[in-house]
Subunit: 443 residues, 2 copies
């Protein structure tokens, strides 16, 4: 799989490729592979390759692209080209790309849609893009609660969509009544009313549910799909295993990118100015925290001038606090995400983390103290750094528990902002403890 | 869902709970919810709660626990209790918990298994635990290639396992021949030979495939499950959507924990000594890199003594390099994971990252230079830090591209070790540039 994509990347970058050779390569790949290859080449070549791709394949590829890549490409197209692209767009595709389009083009696409698709689009667009309601699958097996088994089987013969292992039953007003699993249906007699076969344990998902929560519910159900209902129990469609797998895959990518303050939609070859701008914001936030730490060091300028070894060892104190703190933070952030942390176990947890911190603090303060003693031949300096390490690791354990819990209470995602705040706290606590003790004991 | 778990946690921590009240609460929850609640309370209470849980529910709960939590619990049980626990264990459960068991107990469990399950266990255990072969699902619809449609439909009536949307066909020796989708089967005539209906596009997964790769393949197929074959095309079983969803969910958790050098199996209330030991290793590795940075600062002791402001500003230089580097690193690590980065686009990528770094370097060096000028009233110091920032951000861009690519070539996972190596490089480069320029221009 990957090597075919690599081949296509190679072709698109190097060769004086013809439209024919590209379209031949594309015909053997899925649209998401082609999208990936396009995202892997510089913008100039990407534009050229796009011009050579057959109109019929373009929309599918565009839909599979990451947000920023798609925006960059759409920027290069004129309205006539975009209009042509959208002659055949359905609700699901338009919902996927709508955030990268100006309103004018969304309207243009909507005007070309049939009524059913337009209705689906308008149902979906009212939901945020991390919510099930936005990504509902509308291909489903649906039957009136008043039919018999034989009629349900006939329905099944007509068409069985992917990820289907049950028939959903509704009443006359479209309200969900329940579901009948295939294996029950297959065993039943043809004349039996289907409403006798309803699965009492069948669950459903509310359309306002977050995607990751919905994926967890689907996994627990051991079913290939669950019905999605609105607040009035009207059956809107399904959330199926394909959507759940996609949810987790993208969540995984988003989490990885977020650790560096990046968005998962980022393009590998975004224009320099644009990349510099998005990354600059994160650099600026971190610069503020670094200057804050510097300001605290500045308080001790006089001490540093007399004992320059303190300056040399500052990174050691900061590093130990930062690492110990992020270990505690990570454990707590996971616990919060899993719903493990409640008022009742917070105290035991804090006490356990402080004990772990104390033990590692003592152990590493001895190691660091001895290395310092040997390096600078000053027992007093060894004592100062040893004490500072213990203080900083304990402070790290305390902040590692309290910062995420506090952020969570304030409804701020601790996975995103926790680590910047924590590092700032441990940096400052470490420098103040180290340089403060140095001032007291070494001058 | 979460609030029920929270209630159970509360009950288990506070109340003088009776066996009856626990088992009542448990009967309303799934085994993984109970496992989660047990993992959320201190070890003493956990042991007590376990003693009150009915024997019939224990194995399911144990299987759902995270590795470390399971180990901690098993350590408390004597052999008779464990033997009782394992009277009813199947291959899948034993494969899940086998790594937390001593060999003696694995043998004990195997002795109580029936032949079929023991065979499945022995088939699975030869694979690593991140490989499909280990987690194969053995409940599947399988038919001889020589039967007719009507016979296949009868098979379906007998039992339809979860996540099933096709029948797998094998020849007499158990080799995979192909698959027939339900929607084709339902439309066919009863007397038609099933081998006429084989889906030409049906793909399969080799048993050596990594779990995340398998999940991607399954997602692309739009099927609920794919057949898993060994190298000789013998049909071993299935990889289904439930396994794929679990794979991603656990991968997501593992990635989060790995950022702090932790394992996803870590217990929230692991004993203090044990936690301290595992975390201590990561602290030690980072300590080495911090001392390395200190050693480089030490070279410039004489300079620091004369210009103490350099010491005050060191965190700013280190922070900017570290953040800029990790942004590039993250983008490249994702690109490598997606298969986007090849020999052919590496040069364009490096040049683009250097341009982004150059732009941000110039911008932020001006900001930082001006702040420094204003703070320390020294234009020369402003110049020194400005130049150091540019050098360090360019160095960060260079290392951010080259370190992960190099690690990948050496078959070391850049997602794990990349960030430690990168920070060490940017720290040292930053300090040397800053203090070196300071020595040249300020003394």
């Amino acid at each position: 799989m990957h090597s075919q994509v690599a081949d296509l990347i190679e072709t698109l970058i190097h060769d004086e490729h013809s439209a024919e050779s590209i379209n031949k390569a594309i015909s053997e790949l899925t649209p998401d592979d082609v999208a990936l290859a396009l995202e892997s080449i510089p913008l100039a070549q990407r534009k050229q390759a796009w011009a050579n791709i057959k109109q019929a394949n373009r929309l599918d590829i565009l839909v599979e692209m990451r947000g920023e890549s798609r925006q960059l490409l759409l920027r290069e197209l004129d309205d006539a080209e975009i209009e042509e692209l959208f002659t055949d767009v359905d609700a699901e595709d338009l919902l996927e790309i709508t955030d990268s389009l100006p309103d004018r083009l969304v309207d243009l696409a909507l005007n070309q849609m049939d009524n059913k698709q337009r209705e689906y689009y308008q149902q979906g667009i009212v939901y945020d893009d991390d919510v099930v309601g936005r990504w509902i699958d509308h291909e489903l097996l649906i039957a009136s609660q008043s039919i018999r088994v034989s009629e349900a089987l006939r329905l099944l013969k007509k068409s069985t969509p992917s990820y289907t292992d049950m028939v959903y039953l509704v009443n006359r007003t479209g309200r969900w009544v329940g579901c009948v699993k295939f294996d029950v249906l297959f065993k039943a007699q043809g004349h039996e009313p289907i409403s006798n076969l309803i699965d009492e344990e069948c669950s459903f998902i509310n359309s306002e549910t977050e995607l990751t929560k919905a994926a967890e519910m689907l996994e627990r159900s051991s079913l290939s799909a669950l019905p999605v209902l609105d607040d009035n129990h009207i059956l809107l469609g399904r959330f199926h295993a394909g959507l759940a797998m996609e949810t987790w895959r993208l969540e995984h990518e988003a989490q990885q990118m977020a650790t560096a303050g990046l968005n998962e939609e980022s393009d590998l070859f975004a224009p320099v100015k644009r990349s510099a701008a998005t990354r600059g914001i994160w650099l600026g936030i971190n610069l503020l925290t670094a200057f804050l730490a510097s300001a605290f060091i500045g308080i001790f300028e006089a001490t540093l001038q007399q004992v320059v070894a303190l300056a040399v060892l500052m990174p050691v104190v900061a590093s130990m606090g930062g690492i110990a703190g992020s270990q505690t933070l990570t454990l707590i952030v996971r616990g919060l995400a899993l719903g493990q942390i409640t008022r009742s176990n917070l105290k035991s947890l804090l006490s356990k983390e402080l004990k772990v911190g104390g033990l590692n603090g003592i152990l590493w303060s001895i190691v660091i103290g001895v290395v310092t003693l040997w390096w600078f031949e000053s027992p007093m300096l060894g004592l100062v750094i040893g004490l500072a390490i213990i203080v900083n690791i304990l402070m790290a354990a305390l902040s590692g528990v309290l910062i995420p819990v506090l952020l969570d209470k304030l409804r701020i995602d601790p996975a995103l902002s926790g680590s910047v705040i924590l590092t700032t706290v441990t940096d400052i606590a470490g420098f103040v403890a180290f340089l403060g003790l140095g001032t007291l004991l070494l001058l």
